[in-house]
């Protein structure tokens, strides 16, 4: 088991290396660099450009050097914890991201928990009461959730939250707490605002998970071993949780690896619409303005999350399912 995990971690290294190359190449793909688009923007606004400063920055960050060299500087910097410098914000990347990353993680975790808490009971109910009115009603709701665009839902929710609860529009906290030091009041304010983006971001994922859980559980409920359990005289509730639900969990665990990046990257448009202080909007603008170190660090962060998530779900799957753990490549 330990050997397996070690081997998996070792194979993560080349994977991440290839991703870093791809990220770098894609960011560099549009003609020019940040400084050029910056100059163009300033000139179009009729402002003068300080040639000296431009030249200094260019040399400082090696933008005049060949691509390979730039890549190396970026990569070796990252390994030492230096994620580079954001041109747009005139700050080191770590400082730009800072709090935002923390809030992003809070929102993501809350969204995932929300998804599970809602999807699980509904999925189980739908599967065990197949073709009942409850199943039909919840399925319809689920489809509505799948079909409604997130940004639309965001606007509607903002409106109602403001009208009925007096929550301020946009953001993750009341305006007076922005840039204020952490305090109990600030936390309360965040929690007050948190549920809207969580519902908005989580809806479609929840709806999808309900459908998948229902389908998987229905498959399992048909299996012979469930009848065996019934024939033993197991009460229905225990029968359901011990056998079919346990097996149906496999898909769910296998999904964890995809969950993190989907939640984080899926939240970006919502974050822009709701002007959330998360990482989404920055990533978007960084990509637009070719703020390469900022964008690159973000994308690498997502990549690491994905790779680690997949590893975690693989290990969890092996712990959960003896066929994965002991079966090896033996087929019947």
């Amino acid at each position: 088991m330990l050997g397996y995990i070690l081997r998996r971690i070792l194979t993560m290294i080349p994977t991440l290396l290839v991703i870093s190359m791809l990220v770098f190449v894609i960011i560099q793909l549009p003609p020019g660099d940040y400084l050029e688009s910056h100059i163009a923007e300033l000139q179009s606004q009729g402002e003068s450009v300080d040639e000296n400063k431009i030249q200094f920055l260019r040399e400082q960050y090696g933008l005049d050097k060949p691509l390979l060299h730039q890549y190396w500087v970026w990569l070796s910097g990252m390994l030492q914890g230096d994620f580079g410098y954001s041109f747009e914000y005139d700050l080191p990347v770590t400082e730009v991201v800072g709090d935002r990353l923390f809030l992003t993680i809070i929102i993501s975790i809350a969204t995932i928990l929300f998804t599970w808490m809602v999807a699980f009971p509904i999925g189980i109910y739908s599967a065990t009461h197949q073709y009942s009115w409850g199943d039909y009603g919840l399925s319809t709701l689920g489809f509505l959730g799948l079909a409604t665009p997130n940004f639309l839902l965001a606007l509607v929710m903002l409106y109602f939250a403001n009208v009925y609860f007096g929550t301020s529009i946009g953001g993750l906290m009341d305006p007076e707490y922005i840039d204020a030091p952490w305090s109990i009041d600030k936390l309360v304010s965040i929690l007050e605002h948190l549920w809207i983006p969580v519902i908005v971001i989580g809806t479609s994922g929840t709806a999808g998970m309900i459908r998948r859980l229902r389908a998987n559980l229905l498959d399992e409920l048909q299996k012979q071993y469930v009848t065996t359990g019934r024939a033993k005289g197991l009460p229905p509730g225990k029968l359901l949780t011990k056998y079919p639900l346990r097996v149906a969990l496999n898909f769910f665990v296998a999904d964890i690896g995809n969950l993190l990046p989907t939640v984080i990257s899926g939240a970006e448009i919502v974050a822009v619409v709701m002007s959330l202080p998360t990482t989404g909007p920055i990533l978007l603008s960084a990509l637009q303005s070719q703020d390469m170190y900022l964008a690159g660090s973000f994308l690498m962060f997502l990549a690491v999350l994905t790779v680690v998530g997949v590893l975690v779900s693989d290990i969890a799957l092996a712990l959960l399912d003896p066929r994965v753990r002991l079966g090896g490549g033996v087929s019947k």
Partner: protein, 623 residues
């Protein structure tokens, strides 16, 4: 103890009730074995589900009663009136009445240990501490024949063979010492030698614990060896019931008589035909001719010659973290010849390599070594050397009939498209020819050509298998490989398809390679038979020689394990030992392969060969 009176069960299919059981009545006395016999769809399983209170959701008990006298409590309850989920019913289920199912592969949860699943029933119904429970479970596992019960407790079902899984299932049903056990086709999915051991085990346990057994089966051979009372069901009704001896010697009802005649038996006289419950008529037409074997210049050459075929599979190691590979000899130095116009039988248990062998001959799997020489009557063709267009052209000579008629036909193609496909692939004839050919093929397998526009799902298993046969005949091959063509079919249908294959062979002058695990079927259809075990042919002989004078210990074990549907030839349960006859390491000299480099066929005369260690003499065989 159990009394079923006028039981009627309806299934609700899209709003309209379809009766599954009509007026079913029978009794099971304490300690007695009652067999419920019938083909699939006759309502045997529904009856057992009704008794257990585990009917599917869309089924309802419309009328009748299921009276159960619990010997422990002395109470008499009507199960039909109980709510299936009531505590009282749950106590009966698993506690007083237990059940074992047909499929040991799917009847156990894949993610729980054997010990957990078996002890669960005990903890539900009996007061036992965790420790006691595990001890009892271990003892039960020992009793059902696990060699290392303490290790088996922590094993998962997928780590066990089919036979051991069924033993675990039996242990689970027995752990609470129920007064009635229902066995729903307990051995149908198992090999014949394992079947005999499981039947023996059930009998022993039954005698030991004094419980009653309700045995559900379609196999009259099993019935003849196990039952005291027999209930014959057909279309949801009880056709006939009575003591075994009475029913077998003097069947009254037409259906039971027909069923008895449809079962292949070893004592059929030469030329005697099985009588299917429903006869079909095959008609030949103008397009498909008999293969003119006497006009061929080299007709006496063997039709197919297989020499030294071997195939090894490499499996990944048993543990997910290791990268070791295990080698599995699927086919090992197999050599035989098939004469023109004969039916060459290959018999063996699951995993013996017979299907791999057939696929190698068809060029679907590439062997590691060996030769396949096909002789079309004019010239010899090296099948392994064929390539591209030559291979395509060669495939017209040799066709395949598959085991599972349900998955062998594409559900999205009409029967016409299915029959036409080989003709299209081989670019034979225009649309008119193909239509005429399809019509003729349908008549040939005794089906109405008007069915050509239907899709496979509207046919029964037997009809689908006939469509599969028609497809194999479309290119007018000379050699057909039949891989277990009747093992998925009911006994009554089985006779029908076997007769059809026999007739077609006569009329069209075909050569068959017939693969089966069922010795009675092989006996009925084959002229010469090869017995395979662990990838090797251990014995090869003309049919009568093999059945009268089996030499190899494996063949002997195989033959002695077959339950005959005759009261005069009971299985000798005493002779069935726990040691696996399919384990080559246990064979005695000269058959042993342990520590011996090479084995070879010994010629016993009259085309009878047996595999022995190189250098052994015929006199060794007697020892």
């Amino acid at each position: 103890m159990l009394e079923v009176n006028n039981l009627a069960v309806d299934f609700d299919l899209q709003g309209s009730p379809v009766p599954a059981l009509k007026d079913v009545s029978f009794k099971v006395n304490q300690g007695e074995t009652v067999a419920l016999v019938g083909e699939s769809g006759s309502g045997k399983s529904v009856t057992s589900q009704a008794i257990m209170g585990i009917l599917p959701r869309n089924a309802t008990i419309r009328a009748g009663e299921i009276l159960f006298n619990s010997p422990e409590t002395g109470q008499r309850v009507d199960i039909a009136q109980l709510d299936p989920e009531s505590p009282q019913m749950r106590q009966i289920r698993g506690g007083s009445i237990s059940i074992i199912f047909q499929e040991p592969m799917t009847s156990l949860s894949p993610v729980h240990t054997i010990g957990d699943q078996i002890s669960e029933a005990l903890f539900l119904h009996r007061d036992a501490s965790r420790e006691e429970g595990m001890k009892l479970t271990e003892a039960m596992l020992q009793q059902v024949g696990f060699a290392e019960p303490s290790r088996a407790l922590n094993m998962f079902p997928f780590e066990l063979s089919g036979g051991l899984r069924q033993r675990a299932m039996i242990a689970m049903a027995m752990i609470c010492h129920p007064s009635l056990m229902i066995a729903d086709e307990p051995t149908t999915a198992l090999d014949v030698t394992i079947q005999a051991r499981i039947l023996k085990l059930i009998r022993e346990l039954q005698a030991e614990l004094g419980m009653a057994l309700l045995l559900i089966t379609h196999d009259l051979g099993v019935v003849a060896n196990m039952a005291e009372q027999v209930v014959v069901m057909y279309h949801g009704r009880v056709m006939e019931a009575g003591p075994l001896k009475h029913l077998f010697e003097n069947p009254q009802h037409e259906y039971l008589k027909a069923l008895m005649h449809a079962v292949p038996r070893f004592d059929l006289k030469p030329g005697e035909r099985l009588v299917p419950v429903r006869e079909i008529h095959s008609e030949t037409g103008a397009l498909i001719d008999k293969h003119p074997s006497d006009q061929l210049p080299n007709a006496s050459e063997p039709h197919l010659r297989v020499k030294d075929l071997s195939k090894t599979y490499h499996l990944h190691g048993g543990n997910w973290s290791s990268s070791k590979t295990r080698q599995l000899l699927a086919v090992d130095q197999v050599s035989f010849e098939v004469e023109r116009g004969e039916c060459f039988g290959v018999v063996g248990e699951s995993g013996c390599g017979k299907t791999t062998l057939s696929k190698i001959i068809m060029r679907a799997i590439t062997p590691d070594q060996g030769d396949i020489i096909y002789h079309d009557g004019r010239q010899a063709i090296d099948v392994r050397a064929l390539d591209g267009d030559d291979l395509l052209a060669f495939r017209r000579n040799m066709q395949f009939i598959f085991q599972d008629p349900y998955s062998a036909l594409n559900p999205r193609m009409t029967v016409f498209d299915i029959l036409r496909e080989p003709l299209v692939v081989h670019d034979k004839g225009d649309m008119d020819y193909q239509r005429e050919m399809a019509t003729e093929l349908m008549r040939l397998v005794g089906m109405d050509p008007r069915f050509l526009n239907r899709y496979p799902h509207s046919f029964s298993g037997g009809q689908r298998q006939r469509i599969g046969i028609a497809r194999a005949l479309a290119l007018q091959p000379a050699l057909i490989i039949c891989d277990e063509p009747v093992s998925a079919l009911d006994v009554s249908i089985q006779a029908q398809v076997l007769n059809l294959l026999k007739d077609l062979q006569q009329e069209l002058g075909l050569t068959y390679i017939f693969i089966s695990h069922n010795l009675a079927v092989i006996h009925y259809i084959a002229n010469r038979i090869a017995v395979m075990c662990r990838g090797r042919i251990v014995e090869l002989a003309p049919r009568d020689r093999l059945f009268e004078n089996p030499v190899h210990p494996y063949t002997q074990a195989l033959l002695s394990a077959v339950p005959h549907p005759e009261l005069s030839q009971p299985l000798s349960f005493e002779a069935i030992t726990e040691s696996a006859a399919s384990e080559p390491a246990l064979w005695q000299f000269p058959f042993t392969i342990a520590g011996i480099e090479k084995t070879d066929f010994m010629d016993l005369g009259d085309g009878h060969f047996v595999r022995v260690a190189v250098g052994s003499k015929p006199s060794d065989l007697a020892a």
